[in-house]
Symmetry: C2
Amino acid sequence: MEKILRINLNTRKIQYEKTDQEMLFFWGRGLIAALLMKEVKPTCEPLGRHNRLIFSRGPLAGTPVPCSGRLSVGGKSPLTGGIKEANAGGNLGHCLGKLGIKAVIVEDKVPNDELYVLFINKDGANLEKVPELRGLSTGETVKELQQRYGEKISAAVIGRGGEMGLAAAGVAVTDMEARPSRFAGRGGLGAVMGSKGLKAVVVDDTGVQMPKPVDKDAFKEANRKLVKILQEHPQTSEVYTEYSTAAALAVVNALGALPTRNFKQGSFEQADNINGDTLHDLILDRGGAGQVSHACMPGCIIRCSNVFPAKDGSELVAPLEYETLGLMGSNLGIGNLDDIALINAKCNDLGLDTIETGATLGLFMEAGIIPFGDVQGVLNLLDEVEKGSVMGRVVGSGALIAGKVLGLSRIPVVKGQAMAAYDPRGIKGNGVTYATSPMGADHTAGNTLRAKVNHLEPRTQAKISETNQVNMAGVDNLGQCMMVVPALGGSFQIFIELLNAFYGWRLDSDFVSKMGRQVIKFEREFNRLAGLTEADDKLPEFVYEEPLEPHNSVFDVQEEDIRGILRF
Amino acid sequence: MEKILRINLNTRKIQYEKTDQEMLFFWGRGLIAALLMKEVKPTCEPLGRHNRLIFSRGPLAGTPVPCSGRLSVGGKSPLTGGIKEANAGGNLGHCLGKLGIKAVIVEDKVPNDELYVLFINKDGANLEKVPELRGLSTGETVKELQQRYGEKISAAVIGRGGEMGLAAAGVAVTDMEARPSRFAGRGGLGAVMGSKGLKAVVVDDTGVQMPKPVDKDAFKEANRKLVKILQEHPQTSEVYTEYSTAAALAVVNALGALPTRNFKQGSFEQADNINGDTLHDLILDRGGAGQVSHACMPGCIIRCSNVFPAKDGSELVAPLEYETLGLMGSNLGIGNLDDIALINAKCNDLGLDTIETGATLGLFMEAGIIPFGDVQGVLNLLDEVEKGSVMGRVVGSGALIAGKVLGLSRIPVVKGQAMAAYDPRGIKGNGVTYATSPMGADHTAGNTLRAKVNHLEPRTQAKISETNQVNMAGVDNLGQCMMVVPALGGSFQIFIELLNAFYGWRLDSDFVSKMGRQVIKFEREFNRLAGLTEADDKLPEFVYEEPLEPHNSVFDVQEEDIRGILRF
């Protein structure tokens, strides 16, 4: 039933394949891990012709199950040199689900710097040469694609950053209003897409039916149950809905883990100006296009996204999220939502990951190229990216390269990728996740922020990180949004019911964590073959040695605890 | 007798230590390997406080034995992330030998960006703060040091590149006329020195006696024998002496292995303009300061160095060597000796490795920032290094980082370090050495150019490379110049005689290769612990896939042959 769409950018050959039986339970992040292990030589150059870019989605994409349409994008990462999966909301995952496409595998690269769009609809797929899209922003690209393919398309596109092969470039996915603002941001997968000569994947699901469950009644019942769970938990019915992911800012600031001025401080004196409450009130106050709550994909009832309006009520950026507020706000010493929103919008246009780029700009500030808090300086540096100058290319090359170029020793990266907006000295479980996740320093790989523990206590963190990493890999294997997790109380039984009803499977209740372990096992094996070792499972030296105010804490989880986890 | 001088740049503590008995036979590169294994955590950050910079020399330094005074500089490399030793001629190695100092170990780093000189003489050692030397070129630095410490000093210094922490920065050692032009160039050890806040190591050996042999007569006899060997072999008595290392250019060009235009071609249409013959004749023709033959250290009878004069007879650069002619000549499409000499001189001033910088400039040309052959463009880019601009910092950060920043896929590096001036598709044995040496793509780690084999034949190369790597590690452990090797006919018996006579040891005839194996074993173990694996023992993808004219050869030595060597 489900098929793989395989395209080769060198030969422009397009083919549909049946999925292997052994891949039956692998989806999203898991399918990417399984396919990369099977098809890609782990030592290949990330931006060379032997790397593959894979789009995949969960088993319930295309159904009405809430939050089931995450789009996973994967390949070997130019930042980490290891395996990478980044997933995004938006509507493309659901569209692939409706079309019965389990994954799109992009092979090889175009000769002679050509640029293509892959267009998929009910009749099939084809590649179209689009030199006229070169250099366009993500937003302009989608507008052009709508002109060509109609208003109702979904798309995954790259901006100038991806075209230029910049390692901070992500893949932008359209939301329900065709904003290309849902980012599979991390790991430089936009550069991989650019290296292949692929500007966009466009899907039109017109005329396609929703997939049908095997046991319709049981499926309906299970789905009702999930909706109820999400509606009854305050985190998914109120906190995220009203205050979006920005709700985390006050919490992390209070914990002393908010990256501030290139991870020099753990709390920001202007945190109140950029926290969830302020954001919420400002959006309501300004009205216009503003929305405190917004769904990025069909069927989402959490609606953790938002639309941030300018003073005149016109839309400035959507969404404005916690990680961006941390890395492009406090981390840059910028304490004003309008400024952060403007920088965020510009990064979106260029198709750059705001986490990686925020960390990089923090290094430009630490090096004294521009001072902390210099909004115009940041905008100028992003202009340089757009111009394609060498300076701009450094800005877009990620924190590790920028830090080395600038001659700095405090570079906040793990496995070559910038740390997300949780200083590991203040939330030590996230330090373990950063150090050990096959993904590098991702907040989505096993965030321990919500664990009910003392985040400064070193001894308990490794196990908590491991549990969360396994669960997240399992959830990512389902194409489910991580935002549902807080409401589930640690049980994934509801997904077992949904899957069994939909597919007629007989999955056990440990399916999610079992798959999570298998996915991580594949990923670690890919990384091992790619040349990553225990020596890469470590944080930057300064977090072990430089006490972080306000707690004057260093990262002191024992090395043996860190090495003891994820050994499946 | 022999002592270790240990200095800590953070505490400014200076102490002399006895050498361990277990280190008795480790010198130069070998002592660096043994000390780094013992004292440095392999996962430390290369430019952080836990890395150590080590200067060491051979067991016969300070004696009249020809070519015995190489200075080894070592530490964890910011380019390769592994162990690094780079050695240079000049007179500092001999001075340390006379002073009975086996090694200088530099620990930690200065607080607050201070800058120091380490001064050593017969009375001891001390650190002196030298803010006034900041930003000075290598040449200016030595002139200032002579003002301060007298004309007769020897010194190892860094230029602006090392101060800025640029990964292409080397350590420049003075020759007999106090030119800081003998480079321990590779691996970015100048950046390590800069990161510690050390601008120079200065030695004044005034009033110090030459060390005395245990068996004076036997030592004299053995030394006479070595001199005779060197005088009787055409390579060491004529070729190197008359044509310097530049003699290799015509040979490598004829073999189709001369890096040309960022390793796109294997021979250069203007090779005749920059080969050894042309260089020799031009030097003689111009006269003035020019010398076709020049000794970089006391007692050298090979004198492979030269002094290249400008048109008016004034000195332009000394020496002008093969690797520079390859990487900054043909590799940049520059076919004029004056131009190459000018670029070389400027790199020396900045303290940048000409190999790494030449490869990097080739990438700037490939990216179209400047065209191939654009001498003024190159000089402008080097001006940017001097200014410390972001552009200049990219130029000085080495080929891997520059290539990534510029979005290129053809990056001629192995383990993060630029390939020397032998394309591995034309001299495949050097490809094996590049891939497997713990040092990365070094021409000094086991050059197979002079092996009497078909360099395009893939099956024989791995073993030849292994033998040469072991021999070179053994020779580097003796602080001997590699230039003596061609005259020895594969036997190192003469060094056994010298060492036994000098120290009263009873070394076996396999001592050199036995130590060579042990040194490589240490180095590989350090690298393994630092996180390097078999996955790093590979060449850039393009050399496996892009046929190189004129032979249309690719690098096709089998992976199992490559993996089979150096397994001691």
